[in-house]
């Protein structure tokens, strides 16, 4: 049987082809789903436990998807209009019941309503922004400036709420989904959130 010598050029060619194949295979890899899923169990207020996280830029921008579990009926308008919290942050070195900015939501009149929800120097302020469809990603953004929070939801006009007397530099910790108000989730509620940078 004839023995064939392999030279360096052939080795290089094979290596190049393998690398090219690797690149092609990698290019076929499906894009990862970067949405994080939060499930608030029936009877609970909070979703899963998370590591503490802080805001690191003037803007909190994200997409969120509500599914059919966002529909509920307490049979009592005063409970039905309790605002559930979606996502936001506490302001500079403040506890969130002192100074914070969040998006909030409620199922009301057969639609999912989104609110700007803030604590300013200990006082609560809520402003209706718009409605969002179920099972569809919607775009949310909170911009914090020296004197105000600006809330952006899809193509609705922005809503602005005056900021309290807080420091400029410090810790702004994230506030994750919370069901209620005072009443816990009537069934499992799932929300998907994808932070945008």
């Amino acid at each position: 049987m004839r023995k064939r010598n392999i030279n360096i050029g052939e080795v290089n060619t094979i290596a190049m082809m393998l690398m090219l194949l690797g690149v092609l295979v990698a290019a076929c890899e499906p894009a990862p789903d970067l949405f994080q899923s939060f499930t608030i169990k029936k009877g609970e207020h909070y979703a899963d436990v998370r590591f503490p996280e802080t805001l690191q830029q003037n803007t909190l921008s994200f997409q969120a998807i509500f599914d059919n579990s966002a529909q509920y009926d307490f049979g009592d308008a005063s409970l039905q209009t309790n605002k559930n919290k979606l996502f936001g942050f506490s302001d500079c070195n403040s506890m969130h019941h002192e100074n914070s900015a969040r998006f909030a939501w409620q199922w009301f009149n057969g639609q999912l309503e989104i609110y700007a929800y803030c604590y300013v120097n200990g006082g609560r302020t809520e402003k209706f922004i718009g409605t969002v469809p179920l099972n569809t990603p919607s775009n949310y953004r909170i911009e914090v400036s020296g004197s105000s929070y600006s809330f952006y939801l899809n193509n609705y006009p922005p809503v602005t709420i005056a900021r309290g007397n807080v420091c400029d530099r410090g810790v702004y910790y994230m506030l994750w989904p919370y069901f209620g108000g005072s009443v816990p989730a009537p069934h499992d509620v799932t929300i998907k959130i994808k932070k945008l940078f």
């Binding site: 802080t54 805001l55 690191q56 830029q57 003037n58 500079c92 400029d168 530099r169 940078f197």
Partner: protein
Amino acid sequence: MKNLIIFVLVVLLALIVQFANAQSFSIAMNAEKTVSGTQYGPALSFQTKSNWRAGAFYQSVMNVRPERGEIKSEFYGISAAAPLKKCDGFVFYATFRAGLSNNQFLVLVPGIETEIRLTPRASVAFGTSIRMQHVAASGKLMFRIFNNSSL
């Protein structure tokens, strides 16, 4: 301007400490790929005889966001590195940075780093850390300006 003054003060402090204790004083160019873009900038540090490092850094990136236009993102502060293992021209460090992002948000960044000595005065370092709850990768080119033996 205020940021620049703070940065210069930190550098001067680092210089004073260097003259008092340090084995060497280094200047570095940093690049760090984070989830929100790649930040670049200088860093200054002094290093003790037992390879502990401390210093200051500044890095920034200009991001373009469709809804908000061009946004400059800055991160500056102090850094420290503790040697974990040393072998032929390699030093492995646990690193820690603390500083302000956009001159407003306190940020703490743990990480690890490998330094490779190329020459007695030059080295490169590669590291990974947690920025904005995501993994960030960094590269650094370091030059020792002087050390005790050359003073």
